[in-house]
């Protein structure tokens, strides 16, 4: 039986998806904000106070680097699958391929120990 992916895995995939969907433009997505939302969800579930929850810009930059590394491979895979450079991949096609990729990743139970 396939175990459901954990929240960290889902968030990681979502972060990378968002970055690629916005064509890796660091001005167009905010990984620090997304991770803050992740922590808020985790902490709410655990009943922890939200004090000090916000992820600062330096941490956001680090997460951005991580996401960029994963996104670069995702982007390359999409281009290889489409058989054309990224600038020739339409937004609709990009989202369609990301949908397939995301489902595939989550079905693998990605991120489990």
């Amino acid at each position: 039986m396939t175990e459901a992916p954990d929240l960290a895995s889902v968030t990681a995939v979502a972060l990378v998806r968002e970055a690629v969907a916005r064509r890796m433009d660091p001005e167009a997505y905010n990984p620090g904000k997304m991770v803050t939302e992740y922590l808020r969800k985790v902490w709410e579930d655990d009943g922890r106070p939200e004090e000090g929850l916000d992820v600062g810009p330096a941490l956001g930059a680090l997460i951005g680097m991580l996401v960029t590394m994963a996104g670069a491979s995702v982007q390359a895979l999409i281009c290889a699958g489409a058989g054309k450079p990224l600038e020739d991949v339409t937004d609709a096609e990009l989202h369609e391929r990301l949908d397939s990729l995301e489902i595939d990743l989550l079905l693998r139970g990605f991120g489990h120990d």
Binding site: M69, A70, A72, A76
Partner: protein, 219 residues
């Protein structure tokens, strides 16, 4: 395992930043952790949390049986470190960044003004990656050997290298094109791309798990 108390004692007795940075010596996880504790010694409210978190990271690095089960995979001690300061356009305060690595495992320590964060990232160590490392080290010139190392940690190293070598670079995060260029070279085949993607996603996930656990220590 080095206990939190031992680390705190070490931190009180020395500032390893100056000892090791000035001498150009390799850092160990001990000195790095001690320095982080030292940094947080000025903030009593955060000290206990930092100590507890570092103790857990030490358990991880030393493959200590007391480490949490999910983190008990074998890893090697860290023996080298890069360091620099990051100043982003929306973060005018310098942020210390430390990085230690050995054979594919990297630990990154961010010490923004109000918190410390450590992230362990695993990356493969293969002959192909070594060859790539050599090539990129030559391409990047002085500091390149330090800048590129095992697999997917290279993105960090590019940033650290630039932060060290180019003062102007400290006004912005590492250039995404450098990272993407490196990975495009690395990921020459679809299979390699997929492996790289999964590795990098694993890094993001592990990072998020560390954040989650870290938050748990503060509650």
């Amino acid at each position: 395992m080095t206990s939190a108390d031992e680390m705190a004692a070490t931190a009180r007795n020395a500032d390893p930043l100056h000892d090791h940075r000035d001498a150009g010596e390799a850092w160990t996880a001990d000195t790095m952790a001690a320095h982080l504790v030292h940094l947080h010694g000025a903030d009593g409210a955060r000290e206990d949390m930092g100590l507890e978190f570092l103790a857990e990271v030490h358990a991880l690095l030393r493959h200590d049986p007391a480490a949490p089960p999910a983190r008990r995979e074998p890893r090697r001690r860290y023996s080298t470190i890069g360091w620099g300061q990051l100043r982003t356009s929306d973060n005018p305060e310098d942020t210390d960044l430390y990085l230690a690595s050995e054979n594919g495992t990297t630990i990154i320590c961010f010490t923004p003004a109000d918190r410390a964060l450590l992230a362990a990232v695993v990356s493969p160590d293969t002959p192909e990656l070594r060859e790539l490392q050599d090539r990129w080290a030559a391409k990047l010139g002085p500091g390149g050997r330090h800048a590129v190392s095992e697999g997917h940690v290279a993105g960090y190293r590019l940033g650290v290298r630039d932060m060290e070598a180019t003062p102007a670079y400290r006004t912005a995060p590492p250039d995404a094109d450098d990272v993407i260029g490196y990975l495009t070279d690395l990921a020459g085949t679809p299979a390699a791309m997929e492996r790289g993607m999964l590795d990098a996603l694993g890094s993001v996930t592990e990072f998020l798990q560390l954040l989650k656990d870290w938050g748990g220590k503060s509650s």
